[in-house]
Symmetry: none
DNA sequence: CATGAATGAGGGTTCATTCAT
DNA sequence: TATGAATGAACCCTCATTCAT
């Protein structure tokens, strides 16, 4: 039933947990936690049902491990935290970089699926809310706030609530992720999930509105 | 078990299907379709498990009926369609109205829950994608496009891809909905789901960036 | 699959838990807890697998309820506690009555199966040890002790450790129970589980040894 | 994982089957056959799960082998069979010896656990009933009968059904075994499993009742 | 129509057993 | 021979659905 030639047992031993986590993430994103059967996860990982339970205590545990091991590393925004060596760059340019960091993290890469999972399964896994708010949103908010304040002080931006800028730059990325993973497979919406440059141009639009007169 | 005095049978008999649909919608939004038990729906509607199956063929049918009966009316954007009697209003003002129409439909009201449902259950109910794209997004896109083109022609806006404006105005509303229904119950995020004026000010920001120099 | 004519649904509603407990007790005694499948219990009670879980939370719960509801009433020895109106009877006669009370409780009746269950499942259900010691053995020991002391004081018995008498009268009953339920179905042992009078004559033998010279 | 230094392979290779049998017996006695996992047995024997199946075809086979190899030797009563050189000893003394032989075999030694196993698992392993009746009870019965008849003929005992004496001497030993292995670990019962001399004094009591007037 | 006891297919989980190493 | 990762049959339990009352 499983192609042993393609999946030698010994070689895969240490890879199994990761393979199962990847398979589980894909399926949880695709079908939701409750609608995903344990056997499907195993099958996609190329193992049998029982093998899953060698590495994880339960299906719930799989998702908890996903949250803990896979999600729980900070969003890649540290580079902006202190603006090291960024004195020369305009605040507009810095904010644009933040928006693009979000884009590359969520739209490209498969972190986008994680976003869908967060919003879909948070009811039964509150740790997802913690992850999302404290590991993703809050750091972003801190970085954007500091850049916006810098921009206002340097006269680049007009006076502005930084939260408004966070939301304007970041929430469309979230919504785009969800579209790509939920709606597009059924009804492709090119005008939303258009491609690489769309979010860049979105950032331009917002930042244009931010400029001082 | 059910308080008969408070709910006379006669008067409620015809309301049953609607009451069940409302209960189901609430629970599907809150816990997801798969994780909601048929008995819970009946209980919330104040009837017994068996009664649910008098009015609906199955649990799936309940959601299909929700989509067909509840969702399947156009988004309240018709008023903008022809810009009847709107000649005098600025294009900026019109777009602001569109954004506020979205806000009042999705953030206030409980249509916001429907949005969560769309993104959560679309995998098993492709009709949700059809509903979302054709009944909600596409009309909005048409309206916004026409206003943007009008604004450009009238010299109010600089040249701009209309889709960019749809996305900039509309996607944050979607993301805000999801936040309110998914994340906030666990980790309140005032800076996102701040309240009425937030989205209004977001629209201002975007529209400012849209203005011709 | 289940003969509905013989088992009308409504009439049995209140009888179900008891029927399931009886079926479970029989099977637990016969095959042991771990080797009894939930479906077997249901089948013997004339219902389907799922019905069992309407009335009991789990298979373990079934046994716990058996212990709590069925076993947890004191052994029928109270009548001897105060020797009310027993002044006239000889101590020998009283002890003989205790032994016969054990016999009728354990060998006749189906309490004998319970004894087997106690010894078989106590490892996983320590409450069985509590039941056995505190509800059965300890009361018996108290009664027998008081009678033995009375007999010694009245010069009927020679000096004797009362515990020895408890054991001599009671332990053979226990062993006989176990034989009847465990061994006899496979290899009948008439010389042990002989019948009514055997334990009576056993008591005679022991009591004879107890008599003062 | 296993301390190879402490257990050189060579020396243990031939001991493996016995070590596994001992481990299995302990666990079957402690937790029952169905509730004992094969891996536990292997672990207690200091080998891996797979090794168990080199020496035994299945878990059931382990118990069958236990019965065949371990149990299937006669109970140590042969010495009484012909009363060789016992002419001079009183029948009372001989019976006392039989009781003490039971005690040392069952209460001391770990044969007591076997008794528990017999009564617990006989349903699924009828060979246990055969063993118990034919290898243990029947020989004892034969020996006791002959001694009792001898005692009656020699005028030491009053007329008496020999089976009654078997039961009176032997069943309390059985019950004591079960107590020690089943109940005592949870609720210690000193008054039953008191120690070496208790069964001796029990025998005295019974034999006293047996004496001719 | 309304009820809720009963059903049984389906999915999560365990563990005896196998087999490549 | 020894290992232990992997398997999958079997079991516990849930819950959508039915139907006698």
């Amino acid at each position: 039933m499983i192609d042993r030639a393609a999946f030698p047992i010994r070689r895969r031993k240490h890879a199994r947990p990761r393979e199962l986590l990847v398979a589980a993430l894909d399926l949880f994103v695709e079908k939701g936690f409750a609608a995903t059967r344990a056997e499907e996860i195993a099958e996609r990982a190329g193992v049998s049902k029982g093998t899953l339970y060698i590495y994880f205590h339960s299906k719930e545990d799989l998702l908890n491990d996903l949250i803990a091991q896979r999600f729980f590393r900070r969003f890649p925004l540290e580079s902006f935290a202190g603006h090291e060596g960024t004195e020369a760059r305009s605040s507009r340019e810095l904010l644009r970089s933040v928006a693009l960091a979000w884009r590359s993290a969520l739209v490209e890469g498969h972190a986008g699926g994680v976003v869908k999972l967060v919003f879909t399964e948070v009811h039964n896994f509150p740790a997802l809310a913690d992850f999302w708010v404290h590991q993703v949103l809050t750091p972003t908010r801190a970085v954007v706030s500091s850049i916006v304040e810098r921009g206002i002080q340097r006269g680049e931006f007009r006076a502005m609530d930084p939260d408004l800028v966070v939301n304007a730059l970041v929430l469309p990325v979230v919504a785009t992720c969800l579209h790509r993973h939920a709606i597009d497979p059924h009804v492709p919406c090119a005008f939303i999930t258009a491609g690489h440059e769309a979010l860049g141009r979105h950032a331009e639009l917002v930042l244009q509105g931010l400029m001082a007169a």
